[in-house]
Symmetry: C2
Subunit: 268 residues, 2 copies
């Protein structure tokens, strides 16, 4: 059985000493370089493949230093500190001798504690009611997801009429793939640029830095399996060429799986 395109895209060959060889995948091509979500997942994958790993991902921050060129790259993952129940990672992706991504990650042991979700998932019509994917596939990676926007779709008319930046949607990988940390890290980045929606104006934009907090562990992800995920994203401020984007991802049943934030460059 052929590997899922996502697993192939983030596949790494260990080179020893925390170094791994990878390569960009045409299946996840973006406007320039690969979809940032799959690059984030690849950085995390180096941590997950590292022989010194303890615990499961809790926090991941990736900084996109440059667009990856199509072709091979190297990922370097280093456990900077290992505690009893947390481990701190520094990761870098290097291509042709130049750093193209810096990252940090925290892995941790999850324990049974008092727990509550404070932020409820938005009410949305079912994926079936929304129907077939309605996010235009402007770039190749979008075809790797079944994304059904329920609010805040990509504007049809670029007429400067926007007045809010919130998008809510259903999503899952296409073809389906059981949820895991890398898949969830990538899906934190599926939202198209908030500035397009807020201004109804299409300007060049690209993520500079993204952080993902994993509230779900592997047990909760297994329970989600290939089910639908609910996503929500909006911006808080657009200023001097950058905007932020807090976002949330819930299971179909309404359990908050991950919260994420990014800061995004935009032109003009």
């Amino acid at each position: 059985m052929a590997a899922h395109a996502f697993d192939a895209a983030m596949a790494l060959q260990p080179l020893g000493d925390g170094r791994f060889a990878g390569a960009t995948s045409p299946a996840y091509a973006n406007m320039v370089g690969p979809f940032g979500g799959v690059t984030a997942a690849t950085a995390l994958n180096a941590v997950l493949q590292h022989p010194a790993l303890l615990g499961e991902p809790l926090a991941l921050t990736v900084n996109y230093a440059a667009a990856l060129a199509d072709g091979p790259f190297e990922v370097v993952a280093r456990p900077a500190r290992t505690n009893r129940s947390t481990q701190h990672w520094v990761v870098e992706i290097v291509q042709a001798g130049e750093t193209v991504l810096t990252a940090t990650a925290v892995t941790a042991a999850r324990r049974e504690t008092w727990s509550v979700d404070e932020l409820a998932a938005p009410d949305m019509p079912t994926p079936e009611a929304v129907g077939k994917p309605n996010m235009a596939a402007l770039v190749e990676w979008v075809r790797r997801y079944d994304i059904r926007i329920t609010e805040g779709a990509i504007p049809i008319a670029w007429d400067g009429s926007g007045d809010a930046s919130r998008t809510t949607l259903w999503m899952r990988e296409e073809p389906s793939r059981a949820l895991d940390f890398c898949g969830l890290a990538a899906m934190a980045d599926v939202f198209y640029p908030r500035v397009w929606l807020r201004r109804a104006t299409r300007v060049p934009a690209g993520t500079v830095s993204m952080t993902v907090y994993f509230h779900a562990g592997s047990v909760q992800m297994s329970a989600v399996g290939t089910g639908w995920l609910k996503g929500q994203a909006s911006a808080q401020a657009f200023r001097n060429g950058f905007f932020d984007q807090p976002a949330q991802v819930w299971s179909e049943g309404g359990q908050l799986l991950a919260t994420t934030h990014q800061i995004v460059y935009f032109k003009e």
Copy 2:
């Protein structure tokens, strides 16, 4: 004139090659080790003091790998990638040969663009109406700020009665100090643990990772000067020993200066 306690606390002596010597300050002592905000500011200060710096802080992520011991430490800042208008930094704080903090930062040139604040500041009574600081100084660093909570104060009775996690407050440094990137980074961390409020139960808690996005540049910070700042924080999920905390900081006039997020360990 003596330096402000904050400037003294984050002061660094250059050792060459991006290495800087610093030391913890009793003025910012927390329960264990120093206030995390001042440690974050110190990491950022190494970037700001670095001779290769281009641009101004845009994003900062700090991961608290271990509590700092009282005494000296070394900060190492490395520009991993320098582009035309952004620069990517990897920072580490080392104490007695062990990594106690990992961090990444992005600095960038700010340009005039279309701008709008989407998230409005909460309506709050004036700082004068709220009156003297009402955040109990359980630890020394709290005395370095004038914090006036307008909603979601630290519970008076630890009776398990909590049902929401939102705190809104006024804050400024005490004595007053003109706003800058390091001061703002530190104030992103002033909110007491959300789990105390949500559960009205005081359990051990500590920040694991914090990210700050700076929407204000140095020009806007100069305009704020020593003025009051509005802050707001809440949690989205508490699960398996960790909760997250998105927060925002506005000027008194309602301009969004920074948005920030953290993931926090809690016991039980």
